[in-house]
Symmetry: C2
Subunit: 424 residues, 2 copies
């Protein structure tokens, strides 16, 4: 059997996991997939790290051109992270006709169009199963299944760090800062956690997933993004009392009026399949016009789960004689004629109010004057002057809500607007 | 664009749904998949039914040879159900080089090897995404993803009828017979419910899924099958008290000692992702050596969800220039050297005992003498002479348990062994 030469750009956590799988399962893959995959080049500054994985130092290089110009390399798997130099390196590889496999959601969501254009020119393939939800085959599902369905919505828990933090806050009644520190100590959160906790990582993934799902480009600029750092244990507890679980959701809806895409902390009913996704697990929930509701669930990160997806793509690339590309105009902007909208949803409003008769009536009236009605109200009676008041509204737009809240905030009885959180 | 001619064998519920999708989405599929699918032949006795779907009666035939000999037919989708004449018809179509798409799990699990052999001869494709878990892409996942993973186990709720019945028994505290009648009235269960409630349907699906997952044939004869008709509302309630949910599970494990495959009512902890799969929904839970736990969830039946999977396969078949077949020796028996075993698991034992001091000690001693230890004991105190006694054992084999139970049954204090149910 002819050997298919693989180059790995970086052998850190996921690159190392990938090397491990390709080595341990070379015979297994040969037997069942009829392709013989061999790592023939590794781009890595840390030669000691490469050697510790059992990689022959003669195949380790620090110069991308040694890979680009090596005809034995047919597939390049990238694990560098960040935009540069990953983008430049992969463009070179694609131009040389080498298929590319990547887990790099930031670079992909920002430069997919460029990479795809280059791939098309040379006939190379571009594969990115590992960019979203680790080993769960969500990209393959969106590309090679559900071909007759119009996907109406995609809702995902696509970031393990924030789901770990929110689950722990909810289960243990702890505050955000405390749990973040624990997550950092356990290696579930980075020292600089911004990419995760502020929703950037989820935004990159949503752009990729929703573009495939809706078969039109959903650029990063079209996505409303909000992180979880303003969430308190009190908010989570009040939501719980009312039957809701808080998740950082990546949501995209394909409606008749346009596409709505957002990443934000969101309360969902406890009965929703996504409410039971705990800890660092991820899940993507899709609604198709024929298939109805489907959900894919699994580990969103880690050396081996992500490595599993990379290896799946490498096998796919090795067997895929005629790579397919996106069916939409893949540019850096939205396609002409596609509208992006602010969709309606419910809102959780957490106020601190003076415990006076009539305060609820006053607020209700103001909301009502903007067409906003309430689904639930929860007022904790206490022998204190200041009490929390929790309102859950029926569906409305954030614009209408902002207008109403401008007035509510001015009331003497309203001491503080503690938080406003989306409810789906 | 060249038209790809499709023939539908039967336009009942799912065949009708498929016709609807292919018609409604012809342009959509053309645009995004670059194939133009047209139904050019329909095999259907009930011409009035075909006409009511908008099918031109000139393309309706009652003779399979009119399809086999029609060169414009490239893909045949079968909706007849049962083994014959579906098997004979599809063998003819494959021999004529037409790719086959089917949802027929009974025929496929019994004659997959024959169909695949015929397909290989002519180079035709054989696709069956719709045979298991409706529109959820579980077959595609097992065939085109996770190529580097050794799947350790597959656990599925793959029959909507029984999951509907068990969910309703659990939520409403009703007895089996009552809920079965309701399910029949609602169309969730057939007038003759045997195929569903006795686990045949789940067994067919498990044979297909586990063969693909373990990359070796798991024939029907290797699967231990038990249905749900002996389950009482009391069993479900006792299980609930101890933190368990009852599901009809299709389970296959790939262990060092051999493969264990079974369909049976099973208690799982409430925290297990499958415990929250309610009503007629289905889900398949996989454990891979690298990917870890993943789960796919969705509607397992219905005209449009199943039609969605059929259309997905038709598109796939139309684009798939070089069909792939199973990587294992697909015969009607297990491959040589593959062992099938009876795996260990916990057991729920529901006894009716005389409320005397020492009865528990006596039973515990007998179980212990066979090496069986208890995880939980639940004895309902009542002012009655006869009381229920619930035992949950640690892992053991059904063989050891049977031996112990032979002795336990003989005790004067043990009036009845009400039920024994698997616990995972």
């Amino acid at each position: 059997m002819k050997i298919t030469g693989i180059a790995l750009l970086g052998v850190g956590v996921v690159g190392g996991g990938t090397y491990q799988i390709l080595t341990e399962k070379r015979e297994f893959i040969k037997k069942h997939q009829n392709v013989d995959l061999q790592v023939v080049r590794v781009l890595e500054k840390n030669v000691a790290r490469a050697k510790s994985l059992g990689i022959d130092e003669n195949i380790v290089t620090q110069n991308i051109d040694n890979i680009v110009n090596d005809d034995s390399v047919k597939i390049v798997a990238e694990f560098m992270g960040g935009v540069e130099p990953a983008r430049t390196f992969l463009l070179k590889c694609l131009a040389a006709g080498k298929s590319v496999v990547t887990a790099n959601k930031e670079m992909l969501s920002k430069h997919w169009h460029e990479l795809e254009a280059e791939a098309k020119k040379s006939g190379a393939g571009l594969y990115f199963e590992a960019s979203c939800v680790g080993g769960v085959p969500i990209i393959r599902t969106l590309k090679n299944s559900l071909q007759g369905d119009t996907i109406k919505s995609i809702t995902g828990i696509v970031n393990g760090t924030t789901n770990f933090i929110l689950t722990k806050m909810s289960d243990e009644g702890k505050d955000y800062d405390e749990v973040l520190k624990e997550a950092q100590a356990l290696g579930y959160a980075e020292a600089n956690p911004v990419a995760d906790v502020d929703g950037f990582d989820a935004m990159y993934k949503l752009s990729i997933l929703s573009s495939l799902a809706f078969r039109t480009k959903v650029p990063l600029t079209a996505i409303d993004r909000k992180g979880i750092s303003s969430i308190t244990k009190e908010d989570i507890a009040f939501g719980k009392d009312l039957g809701y679980t808080l998740k950082l959701l990546a949501i995209a809806k394909n409606t008749e009026k346009g596409i709505c895409a957002k990443v934000q902390p969101t309360f969902i009913p406890n009965s929703h399949p996504l409410a039971s996704i705990k800890g660092s697990f991820n899940a993507v929930f899709l609604v198709g016009d024929y298939v109805g509701d489907i959900m894919l669930y699994g580990r969103g990160a880690g050396a081996l789960p992500t490595g599993s997806a990379i290896v799946s793509d490498i096998v796919f690339a090795a067997k895929d004689k005629k790579p397919s590309y996106t069916s939409f105009k893949n540019t850096d902007k939205a396609e002409r004629g596609v509208k992006f909208i602010d969709d309606e949803n419910g809102f959780y409003i957490h106020l601190t109010v003076k415990d006076k008769i009539g305060v609820l009536a006053k607020i209700t009236k103001t909301l009502s004057s903007k067409g906003i009605s309430l689904k639930s109200v929860f007022q904790k009676s206490a022998d204190e002057e200041l009490v929390p008041l929790i309102l859950i509204t029926h569906k409305t737009t954030s614009k209408l809500l902002s207008k109403a809240m401008e007035e509510v905030e001015k009331f003497d009885e309203v001491v503080k607007v503690n938080n406003i959180i989306c409810v789906e």
